[in-house]
C-alpha cells in the first residue's frame, strides 16, 4: 500500500465515526436522517476489508511517527466491530421510534443517543488500532466515559444506578490496568528501551525477554485484573449485568458483542509480552482461574434468572469466560478458536439483544414469566430470538459450535484436561438454564390479556433485516470462514505463535 492509502485506512475507522458523531451532535433544526448512522460501520468494514486483503501478504502496516498500527489481529477485530456496529446501527432507528412512541425523550434524546453511539465506535476502533499500550488504555477508558450516559439513557432510578456502578467499577478497575502498564513501562525503561518506544507494542514484544520477571509478573496480574473488569471477568464483574440490562438494546448489543472482546484482546496483547518475559505458566494460571470462577458464577446465576435481559448479560459472561479459557490455553488453535468465538458471539448476541428490545417494546416487561407464547403472539420475532438463543447455546450450524469445539480440543491437547472438562460441565449447566428459560418465553399459547389484539404481530422488514442478516452471517461463519481463513490463522499466530 502507498503511504497515503495506509494513512487513510488506519485513520478512517476513528475519524469517520467521530465526524458522524459531530454531525449528529450539531444537527439542530432538522434531525439528521437516522440512516446516516450506517456511514460509520461502512467505513470500519471497508477499512477492515482492505487490511484483511493486504496484511496477510504485506505484513503489519503503520504510519511513521504515529501511534496507529494494524496487523492481522487488528484487521480481524475491525471486521467484527464493523459487522456488529452495522447490525446495531441498523437497529437504532427502530429503537428510537419505540422510545418516542412510549413518550421517553424527544429529538434531543435521539440526538444525544446517536452522537454517543458513534463516539463509542470511534473509541473502540482507536483501541483496536493503537500500537502504543498507553493509547490503548486511554481509548478503553474513553469507551467507559462515552457509554456511561448511554447506560443511563432513560434516567430512571434503575438506569442511574446501573450507570453509577458501571462508571465507578470500570474506572477503578481499569485504573489498576494502568498501574500494570506503568510497571511494564518501568521494566522496559530499565531494560534499556528509550522513552518514546517503551510502550510501543512491537518493540516490547521484541525486547520482552530482557524485562525484569518480578516486575512483569506484578504488572501482568494488574493488567488481567484491570482489563478483565472491562471484559466482565471475576472479581470486578458486578457492573455487567446491571449495565447490559439497563442500556438501550442496540447499545447492549455493542457493549456485549464487541466492547468485552476489545478489552480482552488488550489482555491478549499483554500476554504475548508476559509469556516471553516470564513463561506461560503465570498468565495461564491467572486466566484459567478467572475463567472458571466467571463460568461458575454465570452458570449459577443463570439457573435462578427471572429477567431475560439479565439472562443475556450472564450468557455474555459465560462466553467471555470461555474466551478467557482459550486465551489461557494459548496455542495457535486455541487463539484461532477464541477469535472465531469473538466474532460468532458478537453477531449472535447482537441479534439476541436487539430482538430482546423488540420483545420489551411488545410486552412492556423484562420478566421471563410474563412473556409466554411469544411464537404465537409474534412469530417472526419469536423465531429470530429463538434462533439467536440456539446460536448462543453453540448448536450447529452456528459458528459458536465450531469455536467451542476448537477451544475444548486445544485444551485437551495442551494438557489442560481438568480445567477444560470442568468448564464443559459448567457450560452444560448454563445450556440447561438458558434453553429452559427461552422455551418458557417462546412456547405455549398466547395469553389473553385484555386490550391486546388477537392477531399475531408482524416484525416489519426494516426491523427484521438486520436480525436475519446477523443470523445468516453467524451460520455462514460456522460452515466456512472462506476468504478469512488465512487472516484468522495469521491473527492467531500473532498471539499464539510465540
Amino acid at each position: 500500500m502507498t503511504p497515503a492509502t495506509t494513512t487513510a485506512v488506519l485513520t478512517a475507522p476513528i475519524v469517520v465515526p467521530l465526524a458522524v458523531a459531530c454531525l449528529y451532535a450539531g444537527a439542530r433544526r432538522r434531525g439528521l436522517t437516522a440512516w446516516a448512522g450506517l456511514l460509520s460501520p461502512a467505513a470500519i468494514l471497508a477499512c477492515g476489508s482492505v487490511l484483511a486483503a493486504t496484511v496477510p501478504d504485506g505484513g503489519p502496516v503503520t504510519i511513521d511517527g504515529s501511534l496507529l498500527r494494524a496487523d492481522a489481529l487488528t484487521a480481524w477485530m475491525l471486521l467484527v466491530v464493523g459487522a456488529v456496529a452495522a447490525l446495531a446501527c441498523a437497529a437504532g432507528p427502530a429503537y428510537l421510534a419505540h422510545e418516542r412512541a412510549a413518550g421517553h425523550g424527544g429529538r434531543g434524546a435521539a440526538r444525544q443517543y446517536n452522537a454517543l453511539v458513534h463516539g463509542f465506535l470511534a473509541a473502540m476502533c482507536a483501541a483496536v488500532l493503537a500500537a502504543n499500550l498507553g493509547v490503548l488504555w486511554v481509548a478503553i477508558e474513553a469507551t467507559t466515559i462515552v457509554t456511561a450516559f448511554l447506560v443511563g439513557h432513560r434516567r430512571t432510578r434503575a438506569s442511574v444506578e446501573a450507570a453509577w456502578k458501571y462508571v465507578v467499577i470500570c474506572s477503578a478497575g481499569i485504573a489498576l490496568a494502568f498501574l500494570g502498564t506503568v510497571l511494564i513501562y518501568y521494566a522496559a525503561r530499565q531494560a534499556g528501551v528509550s522513552e518514546a518506544w517503551a510502550l510501543d507494542w512491537p518493540t516490547l514484544v521484541a525486547r520482552a525477554d530482557r524485562l525484569d520477571p518480578d516486575v512483569t509478573r506484578l504488572g501482568m496480574a494488574l493488567v488481567v485484573l484491570g482489563f478483565g473488569a472491562k471484559a466482565g471477568l471475576v472479581p470486578l464483574h458486578a457492573w455487567l449485568p446491571d449495565a447490559h440490562s439497563q442500556a438501550p438494546a442496540p447499545v447492549s448489543a455493542l457493549m456485549s458483542g464487541v466492547l468485552l472482546a476489545v478489552s480482552f484482546t488488550a489482555v491478549l496483547r499483554y500476554k504475548v509480552i508476559a509469556d516471553a518475559a516470564i513463561g506461560h505458566g503465570f498468565t495461564r494460571a491467572l486466566l484459567t482461574g478467572a475463567a472458571l470462577l466467571t463460568l461458575a458464577l454465570a452458570a449459577a446465576v443463570l439457573l435462578g434468572q427471572r429477567d431475560y435481559k439479565r439472562m443475556l448479560a450472564y450468557s455474555s459472561m459465560e462466553h467471555m469466560a470461555l474466551i478467557a479459557l482459550g486465551g489461557a490455553i494459548g496455542s495457535p488453535l486455541a487463539i484461532a478458536a477464541v477469535l472465531l468465538h469473538i466474532a460468532g458471539h458478537g453477531l449472535a448476541k447482537t441479534v439476541a439483544f436487539t430482538s430482546s428490545g423488540h420483545i420489551l417494546h411488545l410486552r412492556r416487561t423484562t420478566r421471563i414469566g410474563r412473556v409466554r407464547g411469544l411464537l404465537a403472539r409474534a412469530p417472526g420475532l419469536g423465531a429470530v430470538f429463538g434462533l439467536a438463543t440456539l446460536a448462543l447455546l453453540a448448536l450447529p450450524p452456528f459458528s459458536l459450535f465450531a469455536s467451542e469445539l476448537g477451544i475444548a480440543r486445544a485444551g485437551f491437547a495442551a494438557g489442560m484436561g481438568w480445567p477444560t472438562a470442568l468448564a464443559l460441565g459448567l457450560v452444560l449447566v448454563a445450556f440447561a438454564a438458558l434453553s429452559s428459560r427461552t422455551a418458557r418465553m417462546l412456547l405455549g399459547p398466547a395469553p389473553d390479556a385484555p386490550g391486546t389484539p388477537a392477531v399475531p404481530k408482524r416484525l416489519g422488514t426494516t426491523a427484521a433485516l438486520p436480525l436475519v442478516t446477523g443470523l445468516l452471517a453467524c451460520a455462514a461463519l460456522g460452515i466456512t470462514t472462506g476468504p478469512l481463513t488465512r487472516l484468522l490463522s495469521d491473527a492467531a499466530a500473532i498471539i499464539g505463535g510465540h
Partner: protein, 219 residues
Amino acid sequence: MSDSTYTQLLDLACGAFLLAAVVVLWRRDLASIVRVFAFQGLALMAIATLLGLHEHRWDLLAVAAGIGVLRAGVLPFLMRRALAASGETRETQPLVNVAASLLTAAALTLLAYAVSRPLVELDPSPATRALPVGLAVVLIGFFILVTRRRALSQVVGFLLLDNGITAVAFLAASGVPLIVELGVSFDVLLAVLVLHILTTRMRAAFGRTDIDDLRELRD
C-alpha cells in the same frame, strides 16, 4: 541542589502525599476531605517538580504544573461545586469505623512495602525507594471506594487511586510519555465530570446520594 537535600525533600513530599490519604480516611466532614485532597495534589506536584529539577528535565516541570492545575485546582473546584449543590456536609456512618479504617491503612501500607520489594530492587535510587508510598495510596483509595457511602466520598476514593498511580509512574520512571499523560489526565477529568452529572441525576431520582439506596438491581 545537593543529593541529600533532594532525597530529604523528596521523602518529605512523599510523606505529605501519604499523610493526606490517611487524613481523608480519618475525616468525616466532606468539605475538609476536599481540602485535604487538594493538598495531596500539591504534594504530587512537588514530587514531579523535584524529579524534574534533579534530572534537569524542563518538560517534567511543565507536566508538574499541569498536574498542579488539574489535581489541586480543577478537580477540587468541581467537587466543591457538587458539595454546594447537594447540601450534604458529612459522610454518614461508613461501613468500617474510623479506628478500624486507620488500622487498615497501616496494614495496607505494610502490604504496599512488601509487594513493591521487587520494584525497588530493580533500580535502587531515592525515587524508587519512595515508590511504596504511591502503591499504599492506591490501596487506601481502593479501600475508601469500597467502604464509603456518599457518592462524593467514592469519587474521592477513585481520585486517590489515580493520584497514587501517577505518583508510582513518576517515582518509577519519571512519568509516562507526555501524550499518554495528557490522555490519562483528560480521561480522569471526564470521568469526574460524568460522575458529577450522575450524582445530580441520582439526587433527582433518589432524593440523596447515599450509595445504600442503589439496590434496585439485584438477582
